[in-house]
Structure formats: C-alpha cells, structure tokens
C-alpha cells in the first residue's frame, strides 16, 4: 500500500518538476531571445552592467 502511494506521488511530482524545468528554460530562452533582438547600443548597456555584477556585493559593503 505504502509502495503504491509512493509510486503514485512520484508519478504526480515528476510532471511538476518537468514543468518547473520547462518554465526555467523558457525564461532563459526568452531572455536570450530578448537580448539577441536588442539593438547593439542596448546590448552594450546591459553587457557593461552585467560585467559589473560581480562587484555588487563588495560595493554594497563599500
């Protein structure tokens, strides 16, 4: 009985996990697609900001 319940739960959880994974991939693909269609100037704006991202924790404590 317990094994059946466990199997049923696993069967329910797997599609949810798959869905979450798909959503994450869709967001990343969406962001990449959005970035790719930006004009070069805007790409440089965001690329310059992203390059600075690693300094943010340190600058917060500066």
């Amino acid at each position: 009985m317990c094994r059946r319940k466990k199997a049923e739960t696993e069967t329910a959880v797997k599609p949810r996990r798959r869905l979450r994974k798909l959503v994450k991939i869709a967001i990343i693909v969406g962001l990449v697609a959005y970035y790719m269609q930006m004009d070069p100037s805007k790409k440089r704006f965001f690329a310059t900001l992203l390059k600075q991202a690693r300094f943010l924790p340190g600058r917060y404590y500066a």
Binding site: F45, T48, Q52, F55
Partner: protein, 498 residues
C-alpha cells in the same frame, strides 16, 4: 578629550555643507583643505583681471541647496545672488547653425516642432513625464541616505510615486531619448547632457535623461562666479563656529580598533577628533589615507572595483570682444552614436576625439563684472582621457590649447583666435595635482547603475566607525546640488549615530 568633535577633510561643496550643518548642531568643526581653492571643482580664480570658474559652470535643481541654507537658518537667495540663464543652452552644430533652447518648455516645443512636428509633440510628453519624475525624486531621493536596501526601500515607501519610473532604471539615456525622439538633429541636440555623468548616452542610466528636462526648471549662475556658493556655505558655517583651514593637507586618517580618531597633517601634526567626514575621492581616502588593512575584505574588494569618472581638460580664455554666442552655455555635440564610438574606440584607448565636442561656458554673459569692461571670459570644457596613448598631458597641453582655440574659431566662436588676451588650460593631470582628484576624475567615481544608490560608497562607513563620507563619491553623486545634499545626508547620519 578630542581636539574637535568633527574634522572634515576637503572644503568642497559637500564638505562645507556637512561642516556648516554640524556646526549648527553645536559641534566643534574643523574643515581642512590641501589647496587654496575653496569649493574644489566648484570654485573660481582670477588671472590677469579675468575671473574663471574652475569646473562647475551653472547650478540647476537647486532644491537641495535651498534646503541646506534653510537648515542653516538663512536662505539661498539671501546668501547668493543667482542670475537666471535663458536660453538654457545653445546647441551649435558642426556647420555653425544653432538651436537656442529657451527656459520655457512650450518655447522649446515650438522650436523642436520647426525641425520635427512629431518630436515637438513628444518633447511635451517627455517634459511632462520627467517633471513628474523630478517632483518625486525631490521628495526624498536626493536627501536620504542610501547605505542599505532598507534605506532604499524606505525611500520608495515614502515616495511610492517613484515606482512608476522604475522602467528608467532598465533603460539607457540613449534608449529613453530614442523612445521619445526620432529626428537625428533633435536627438543630437540633447545628447551631451549624458556626459555630465561622465559616460556616453548609451551607458548612462535612463534616469539621467531627466537632465534634458531639469534645465527647464531653472539654470542659474551665481554672481561673482561659482565660488559664491561654497563661499556662502563657508561664511554661514563660520558664523556658526565652523573653522576652515586651507592649504592644510591631510596625510592620514588615524584609525585605531576600526575607529577614526583623528588625522595626521602633511607636516606631521596630529589632530584628534570624535568623527571624521571625508569630502575627498573615496578610493583615495580608503586606500591611501586610511590603508586597506583597516577595511573588511568585502569592502576592500568593493572600493578597489570602482572605476574613476571622466576627466576633462578645461580651457580658460579671456577675450577683448563680445564672443558671438547666444547663451551662457553652448553645447557642441555629435550624435549619440558618435559619442559611443568615441567612448569605445578612442577615449578608452587613450585617444582624443576625432572631432572635439563639449561645453562652452560664457559667464560674463550673466555676470559682466567677471572681466574688465568690454572684455569677456570663456570656460571651455572639451574631451580628452587622462591616459593618453604614447604621450601625456604635460607634453600635449600647449598644442591642445592652441588647437582648441583654432577649432572653435572655425565654426563655434568666430573671431576667437584673434581676440585672445589670456589663455590657459587645466589638464586632467593639473586637476589631479591641484585638487587631489585621482586621474582628474571630476565626478569622482563613474556613475552607472552598478555604482549608484546602495552600490555607491556609503555615507556612513561600513568598515570604520566614526567615519562618514560626502561629496561626489557618495549618493546622490557628482554635481553641485548633489554634493551639497550629500553633506546634509552625512550631517544627519552623524546627528543620528554620534
């Protein structure tokens, strides 16, 4: 018992604002400056009978300045005679044609409509949008500390109207201008304001597109030169007991057990204090005057990561004729794309621009007393990186000066070269030597989003107790009203914590 309650390092507008407000609090305040130029980048000096401004050339968005003088028990208007500038600026194209933008928003709309009716309509929408944004920011954004996410959240909680403008944070100055304006000449005529932040329009955060509107809330020139503003802060502060010593260089900040306890002067004298306020470049303060060994590792990493702001050569010219200009400020600027190209392919590689661009300031238009009768002064801000490829500013300054005068005579200021009585130049290296600005960085630290608000150097040091910062290294950033506001923020924090 300490010699003073507060020592302020640097007699710039931020330091004088903090010092005078702390004196008003009843504290014993000593302001020390290594040089003889009160106000630092917001100062004036005399040569051969002409008065020149050292850096800053006008003030706008004066609310913070008014607020500080009110807290000091007086008013800005009582202490400084502000002369309104109208037109707000004249845009000079490379063919010599001009667009003179009036103070009136509707007047500017009419002018732009002559070039592009569609952009004329958009200008009114732009102005309306940024009028609202400016009104919201003045409710607290400029005068509140931004030392933590809590501070940041509190500002937005106090002014929820700011949330409507969040999209500006996700766009560049160029992006915002392109959203509103389609005509190339119109865009070009409003491109240069981004350079006030020391970045080309494509890297300047979209919130600073505000600058293209804020001029229409008033641009002013103080009678007697820009030094009138720090001069007024000093005068009022001294009446409240503040002491100012110029030509007194601070070598080190004394730090014991992570607490600021005083300063050591260049001549070895130690002066003790309960609180230190720094109005100098934060990198210089932490890495040279304090020493990185006193900083927490993450703070050290953060401080070292900041890029210095733009440096500019400034040319000071006294002439014996009335220059054929139309406004206190004249802007010569290429397109936003050319400004970007200059940044990536020339400025960052140590090369001068292919064709110069910048700001021509004509102070005697507003205040004729700054020059002998019939004569005029010009302060000219052009472009040129601190690090020059294969050469340096000491070698290039004379040829740069002569070249600039010749260039401007060609199309922007006809006759200039034939009427020069006095000509001098302050290069980025001169700014570094005279004003202790590392690499001549006039706005201290570069001000993109990663170095703004909570990511700009904290007003209350997170590494050293009893140490506070003001000036262009901290929130709100570079500029006369913003550095004065930073002094107010530091004084309020000291009132709260010390």
């Amino acid at each position: 018992m300490a010699d003073y309650d507060v020592i302020v390092i640097g007699a710039g507008c931020g330091g004088l604002s903090a010092g005078s407000l702390l004196a008003k609090q009843g504290r014993k305040v000593l302001v020390l400056d290594q040089g003889d130029m009160l106000g630092g980048c917001c100062s004036s000096f005399e040569r051969d009978g002409y008065t020149f401004d050292s850096g800053a050339s006008v003030v706008e968005v004066i609310h913070s300045i008014e607020q500080v003088f009110e807290l000091l028990g007086t008013t800005l208007q009582k202490e400084v005679d502000l002369i309104p500038c109208d037109p707000v600026y004249s845009y000079i194209a490379r063919d010599g044609s001009r667009i003179n933008y009036p103070y009136s928003v509707e007047g500017k709309a009419e002018l732009i409509s002559e070039i592009s009716p569609e952009d004329g309509k958009s200008w009114l929408e732009f102005a309306d949008y940024f009028k609202g944004f400016l009104a919201e920011t003045l409710k607290g954004f400029f005068s509140s500390p931004m030392n933590s996410f809590t501070d940041f959240a509190q500002v937005f909680a106090k002014t929820p109207g700011l949330l409507k403008y969040m999209p500006l944070f996700l766009n560049s100055y160029q992006g915002v201008m392109e959203k509103y304006f389609k005509n190339d000449l119109v865009k070009q005529s409003m491109a240069y304001q981004a350079e006030y932040l020391g970045l080309p329009p494509e890297l300047t955060p979209g919130v600073f597109a505000l600058l293209a509107y804020s001029e229409h809330e008033g641009v002013y020139y103080p009678k007697g030169g820009m030094i009138a503003i720090p001069g007024a802060l000093k005068r009022v502060g001294e009446k409240l007991g503040m002491e100012v010593r110029m030509n007194t260089k601070v070598d080190k900040v004394i730090v014991r057990n992570r607490r600021a306890e005083g300063v050591v002067l260049a001549d070895g004298t130690e002066i003790t204090t309960n609180v230190v306020v720094s109005d100098i470049n934060a990198k210089m303060l932490y890495l040279e005057m304090i020493g990185e060994e006193h900083l927490k590792p993450l703070s050290r990493y953060g401080i070292k990561s900041y890029e210095l702001s733009l440096s500019v050569p400034m040319i000071y010219v006294g002439v014996d004729y009335e220059p054929p200009l139309d406004a206190h400020h004249s802007i010569i600027s290429p397109s936003m794309e050319e400004l970007a190209d200059n940044w990536w392919n020339r400025h960052r590689k140590g090369l001068m621009p292919k064709e110069q661009f910048g700001l021509v300031c004509w102070p005697t238009k507003s205040d004729p007393s700054l020059a002998p009768k019939g004569h005029h002064t010009l302060n000219i801000i052009l472009m040129g990186p601190y690090h020059l490829q294969g050469t340096d500013w000491d070698k290039e300054k004379q040829s740069f000066l002569e070249g600039a005068i010749s260039y401007l005579s060609d199309f922007a200021i006809p006759g200039l070269a034939d009427h020069v009585v006095h000509a001098d130049i302050a290069t980025p290296m001169d700014f570094e030597r005279k004003l202790m600005l590392p690499e001549g960085a006039i706005y201290s630290l570069q001000q993109d989003l990663s170095a703004s608000t909570v990511f700009r150097v904290s007003s209350k040091s997170k590494s050293i107790q009893g140490l506070y910062l003001c000036g262009s290294s901290t929130h709100p950033g570079g500029g006369v009203p913003t550095t004065i506001a930073s002094g107010m923020i530091a004084a309020n924090l000291i009132d709260q914590y010390e």
